[in-house]
């Protein structure tokens, strides 16, 4: 039995870092990725497609998302599609799931306790839904399959202990690997953590399409979908597939030694060469203090990108602060005072120094990046 599992697609999620047009493209990219997943299920000849929750955002979904989901899963027919609503797409009365009709191949788990769906002779998938935006108790608490055969679970929950102890997620439907074994389950296909991860008996596929910058591959491989091959004895062999159609890059650029804005731009351009999608560029290093470094001056650097988010990170203008401090001038006094001011944060100190020194230099770019 081959099951393609995914979760945490978060259709209609807001992209707070993106410009409006980019955000819309990102949301479309999420939809494209779902279609990719369905296509992958067909290509891999999966016996069923399973979603471990957070398929969409209940708080922000648009009406056409409901139509899109129905249409997409209907096109997947007769491939069985099993959905276990999570905390972001919880089974609200006015939710996408509440309105039908869904094609007959779609099964949406609607109970807040695990219920069985027999996918094949001897193979049962137990699924459950969030019926509220939060859930403190685990789906596996007090649960036992109580019957023979191979049993899998499909739900949205937070694994506890071990690798997952420090992930900092709110304890949504917590569970442990021991509970999986104790319940008589052979494996749990789950969603919630966006990093591709898992344990011996459970699998997080990770969010299949990037939602923010810095989404690196997980411990167990790329984020995306997981093809779970279920053996007759209940063993599960996992194969992770990257399905995202879009790219989101997080690039750091050291601009140390740059003597001009043009040099900085050139260095950034080189760093972004060959990349597509969206990119966040974080500058760092020491540059000539004459250089006007503002994020908006870098935005046109890579027109081939959907979105370039420039961040002035740890960039230090090459003022010789030590020498200036020694000056018996207003400037020297200013730098001494600022450096000695106890109530300034380092960031404020940096900004005030740059702004003041630029003002004393007669510059017009007084806003420190």
């Amino acid at each position: 039995m081959r099951l393609l599992h995914f979760a945490d697609l978060h259709l209609d999620a807001p992209f707070l870092w993106a410009a409006p047009a980019t955000a819309e493209r990102r949301r479309q990219a999420l939809r494209d990725t779902l279609e990719t997943i369905v296509e992958l299920a067909h290509r891999l000849r999966a016996d069923a497609l399973l979603c471990g929750g957070d398929l969409y955002e209940q708080a922000t979904f648009t009406p056409d998302t409901a139509a899109f989901l129905r249409r997409t899963f209907e096109r997947a027919h007769p491939l069985p599609v099993l959905i276990a609503p999570g905390n972001h797409d919880w089974l609200a009365p006015g939710s996408v799931y509440a309105r039908g009709p869904w094609s007959p191949n779609v099964t949406i788990f609607r109970s807040d306790h695990l219920e069985p769906v027999e996918l094949a002779d001897g193979l049962t998938v137990w699924g459950a839904a969030y019926v509220a935006p939060t859930r403190r108790s685990g789906f596996l608490e007090g649960f036992r399959t109580g019957r023979a055969g191979v049993h899998l679970a499909l739900f949205h929950g937070a694994a506890q202990g071990g690798f997952f102890a420090g992930l900092g997620h709110a304890p949504h439907a917590p569970f442990t690997e021991a509970q999986i074994r104790g319940a008589g389950l052979d494996h749990a296909l789950v969603g919630h953590y966006h990093t591709a991860s898992g344990g011996e008996r459970f699998t997080y596929p990770g969010n299949p399409d990037p939602l923010s910058f810095g989404e690196t591959p997980g411990r167990d491989g790329p984020r995306g979908a997981v093809l779970a091959a279920v053996g007759a004895d209940g063993t599960v062999t996992r194969e992770r597939w990257q399905v995202a159609r879009s790219q989101v890059h997080d690039v750091g650029v050291d601009v140390s030694g740059c003597g001009s804005g043009q040099e900085v731009r050139e260095r950034v351009r080189q760093a972004l060469a060959g990349r597509g999608g969206c990119a966040r560029v974080t500058l760092k290093g020491e540059v000539a203090h004459e250089i006007d470094l503002r994020p908006e001056l870098l935005r046109d650097l890579a027109p081939e990108l959907e979105e370039l988010v420039a961040v002035i990170g740890d960039v230090r203008p090459a003022y010789d602060i030590g020498r200036i401090q020694a000056e018996r001038t207003v400037r020297g006094q200013f730098v001494r005072d600022v450096m000695a001011a106890p109530d300034l944060t380092s960031e404020q100190r940096r900004r005030v120094l740059i702004t003041g020194l630029r003002a004393l230099d007669g510059r017009s770019d007084l806003e420190a990046g």
């Binding site: 209609d12 020498r323 207003v330 006094q333 300034l344 003002a359 004393l360 806003e367």
Partner: protein
């Protein structure tokens, strides 16, 4: 620091040139185009170098354009210098590559790292300056002097610039204004109508938050509408399912019924086909009518009348002839007569009864005084029996009168008592006798009560009583007297009784007479004969009545006989009619029977035979009727079954209904449909259910339309959240910028105040120390710590602003201030050389001399290098310079 030698490998017009510099004052003299500016630039470039890095500034580009070797070749320059500590260093520059090195001439080591600035060694760093501030602080150019001379405020501005950054172009005040301007443009004030970034950012945040709130509210309403629509759709589905189930059940029933109809139609059609056409209705033939009429005639015959008995009509006619007529007069006692007779009989009886009650006549004793007198006397005698004799002798006065009255009464009573029949004794007579006796008694009583009598003695009274008794002829015995009194009293009562009876009899007799007269009148009225004896007259009338009654009873039979006669005649006539009718009916009956072929011995047999004939005929007709009716019924039933077409059509319809029922059955189990109780009005119920389902569907559709409408107009929450995030980020940026600008201004203002406070006394001290030596007129000076304005006090004691003094004074003050600034801004441990470029060109000979003297004085403390084109300066140098410390370099054009 003292610069010893500047070496040019290639710089502007020069190649491989060298300029030796004195430790004190070096005057480099040359006319125009002799290379003064080139040496000045080369000196600066050799000492400070050019900053490395791409993106050269305009200044750098201009510098390169002016000072690259004109004839090509390497752009190289170097300088040898000695630091205050005695260390001698040579700084070599490859200006083409902007590289350089600083080599300790004694040790041979590279010391460039000590003074590295913007990528290249910068010798001014040993002075506490950099290549920019060295130029601004230690290099005094002709243009700057001219500026001071031409503008009264230039001196102060220059001081401010120097105080701000050691000689840059900007003053702290200008920096503060720039910050203020920048804040005004890039932040702005928080006022309602502002279009500056801060207000706009706040506005954007407000709008974004409002937009987000509206989007979320719209989304919530959309969800609510979706929830409601979902609920209504579920209800509509349930209603539709209910309707469909009902409809399916109804169609199921109709299909079943249509199937049965089809079977029935087939059966009827087959039967009609077998039976052929229906028999025609039996015609009403004439024989049946005749039979019916004949039998009706028999039936209409009256029952055979019994034989007429009794007297015949003739007998009765004869008997009637012998009956008397009705009598004249009363046949019974007339009521009035009877009433009058009863009245008379009662009066007569009353009179007779009264006569039978006639009382006996009263006793007739001798005349006695009245009973009361007797009792009085008896009483008197009785009382006097025990009294003294005198008293008894008193007697009764009036005795003689009393005796006379008593005697008279006795006579009257005796006379009355002699009459035997009361009617013969008038009551008046009895009354007269009684009155006499009463008078006697009264006389007795009067006599006894007379005072003369009473007053007499008992004897007297007794004597008079006894006398009285004797007078009355009575014993003077009280008992006897009382007895006599009783008899007198009884006789009086009986007399009164007789008188009463007599009065009553008179009355009864009058009644008797009146009743007799009434009876006579009544009898006379009835025509009776009146004879005077009421009873006889009545009896006679009564007997006449009885006689007339007997006649009347005989006459009464006459009517009865007449009636009997009429009835008898009618009976006899009816019997005759019946007889003839029976004959006619019998004849018709026999005729009809003959025609019907039935026989009978008599009429009854014929009737029975004809009725049998009718019965058989009716049975045939009934069978025919029933057969026809059944045929008609079945035909009608078949027609009804086939009302919508032929049997084939019905078969098609059944097929359609079955198919329709099958389709309608859909998801419903057949058992569920069959078990559904449809009731008596399933179509009406289906209409209700369909109506309910339609309403529910309409409501659900309306709710879904509302969802669609809300969905179509729904603002994207995600986009609104993004806009809010962007707006907040922009606001944070502007707020951070505002905070940075304000903090910067605060620090800069404070730094300005402090720096000015520090520099002002330094400048003041330097001016006061050197100015008298230069000008000879100003001994006191003051530099404002707030504004760095310079004021000088003349010998006349007046304070004047330096910028308003003479040009020469301004020039001297400026140079002194520059010297003071070099001292103040530079590293005190490493005095900076001062380089001056034609600073006296605008001065007259006197001022030039004074300045030169000043510079010469200054050169004792720090190296002074003066570039000049003036011959006066050269001449002064030739005259005043010390060969051991100073040097005059003459530049010629050929050089």
């Amino acid at each position: 620091m003292r610069l010893e030698r500047v070496l040019i490998g290639g710089f502007g017009p020069f190649r491989d040139r060298e300029l030796e510099l004195a430790p004190g004052l070096t005057v480099v003299h040359g006319a125009n185009e002799t290379g003064k500016s080139t040496w000045l630039a080369a000196l600066w470039a050799a000492l400070c170098g050019l900053r490395r890095g791409a993106g050269a500034t305009n200044e750098g580009r201009d510098f390169a354009a002016r000072h690259r070797p004109w004839a090509g070749g390497p752009w190289q320059v170097s300088v040898r210098l000695e630091l205050a500590g005695g260390r001698r260093v040579e700084i070599s520059r490859d200006l083409d590559h902007r590289t350089g090195s600083a080599r300790d001439l004694a040790l041979g080591g590279e010391v460039g790292a000590e003074i590295m600035n913007e990528g290249t060694p910068d010798g001014s760093r040993w002075l506490g300056l950099d290549r920019r501030s060295f130029l601004a602080t230690a290099c005094v150019r002709q243009a700057q002097v001219l500026e001071v001379l031409e503008s009264a405020g230039a001196l102060q501005v220059h001081l401010e610039r120097a105080a701000a950054s050691g000689g840059g172009d900007q003053t702290a005040a200008a920096a503060l204004r720039r910050l203020e301007d920048f804040e005004r443009d890039q932040v702005g004030r928080e006022v309602a109508n502002s279009v500056r970034p801060l207000r706009m950012a706040r506005k954007r945040v407000e709008q974004a938050e409002a937009g987000l709130a509206a989007a979320r509210a719209g989304h919530d309403r959309y969800l609510e509408a979706a929830e409601r629509a979902g609920r209504l759709e579920a209800e509509a589905d349930a209603a539709g399912c209910h309707r469909d189930r009902w409809r399916a059940a109804l169609l199921h029933r109709r299909a079943a019924r249509a199937g049965r109809d089809l079977a029935r139609a087939r059966e009827l059609a087959a039967r009609r086909s077998e039976a052929g056409s229906l028999p025609p209705p039996e015609a009403e033939d004439g024989l049946s009518k005749q039979v019916a009429a004949a039998l009706a005639g028999v039936h209409g015959l009256p029952a055979p009348a019994p034989a007429l008995n009794g007297s015949s009509a003739a007998d009765l006619e004869r008997e009637l002839a012998g009956v008397p007529g009705h009598p004249e007069g009363d046949c019974e006692v007339a009521p009035r007569v009877a009433e009058a007779f009863a009245g008379w009989r009662a009066a007569d009886q009353a009179l007779k009864d009264h006569d039978r009650r006639r009382p006996a006549p009263p006793e007739s004793p001798a005349p006695l005084p009245p009973a009361d007198a007797l009792r009085e006397l008896a009483g008197e005698l009785k009382r006097l029996d025990g009294a003294p004799a005198a008293r008894s002798r008193s007697g009764v006065r009036g005795g003689p009168a009393l005796a006379a009255a008593a005697a008279l009464a006795g006579v009257v009573l005796a006379a009355l008592g002699a009459s035997a029949r009361p009617p013969a004794v008038p009551a008046a007579a009895w009354l007269a006798a009684a009155a006499v006796l009463l008078a006697a008694a009264a006389a007795l009583v009067f006599a006894r009560r007379s005072p003369q009598g009473g007053g007499r003695s008992a004897a007297g009274r007794r004597a008079r009583a006894q006398e009285q008794a004797r007078a009355w002829g009575l014993p003077a015995d009280p008992a006897r007297l009382r007895e006599l009194a009783e008899r007198v009293e009884a006789a009086r009562w009986q007399g009164e009784r007789v008188a009463g009876w007599q009065r009553d009899r008179e009355w009864s007799a009058r009644r008797w007479r009146e009743a007799a007269a009434a009876l006579g009148a009544a009898l006379a009225e009835r025509g009776a004969t009146i004879g005077g004896d009421p009873l006889h007259d009545y009896r006679l009338y009564e007997a006449g009545c009885r006689e007339r009654a007997g006649q009347a009873r005989a006459a009464a039979r006459r009517e009865d006989l007449g009636q009997r006669l009429r009835e008898r005649r009618a009976l006899e006539a009816g019997a005759e009619r019946d007889r003839r009718r029976r004959e006619e009916v019998g004849a018709e009956l026999r005729r009809v029977a003959e025609r019907c072929g039935v026989r009978g011995t008599d009429e009854a047999a014929l009737v029975a035979a004809l009725r049998g004939w009718e019965g058989r005929r009716d049975e045939v007709r009934e069978r025919s009727r029933r057969q026809r009716e059944a045929g008609l019924r079945e035909g009608a039933e078949l027609a009804s079954l086939l009302s919508e077409g032929s049997l084939g059509d019905l078969e098609s319809r059944v097929g359609r209904l079955a198919a329709e029922a099958g389709r309608a059955a859909g998801p419903f189990p057949p058992g569920e449909l069959a078990g559904l109780e449809l009731g008596d009005h399933p179509d009406a119920r289906l209409a209700e259910l369909a109506d309910a389902a339609q309403r529910a569907a309409a409501q659900a559709a309306a709710a879904r339309r509302e969802v669609d409408i809300r969905g179509a107009g729904l603002a994207a929450v995600a986009a609104a959240e993004e806009e809010q995030a962007a707006a907040r980020a922009e606001l944070r940026r502007v707020e951070a910028l505002a905070d940075t600008l304000r903090t910067t201004r605060r620090f800069l203002e404070a730094a300005e105040r402090r720096a000015h406070r520090e520099i002002a006394p330094v400048l003041t001290g330097k001016l006061e120390a050197w100015l008298p030596r230069v000008t000879g007129r100003h001994r006191e000076a003051i530099v404002s710590p707030q504004t760095l304005q310079v004021q000088l006090r003349s010998n006349d004691g007046q304070w004047r602003e330096a910028g308003l003094l003479s040009q020469g004074t301004r020039e001297q003050v400026y140079l002194l201030l520059r010297l003071a600034l070099v001292e103040h801004l530079g590293d005190p441990a490493e005095p900076s050389p001062i380089i001056l470029d034609d600073v006296t060109v605008q001065s007259d000979a006197g001022r030039t001399g004074a300045l030169l003297e000043l510079l010469h004085e200054v050169s004792r403390e720090r190296q002074v290098i003066l570039f000049s084109q003036e011959d006066g300066v050269r001449e002064w140098a030739e005259r005043r310079l010390s060969p051991s410390r100073d040097r005059l370099v003459r530049l010629v054009a050929a050089d």
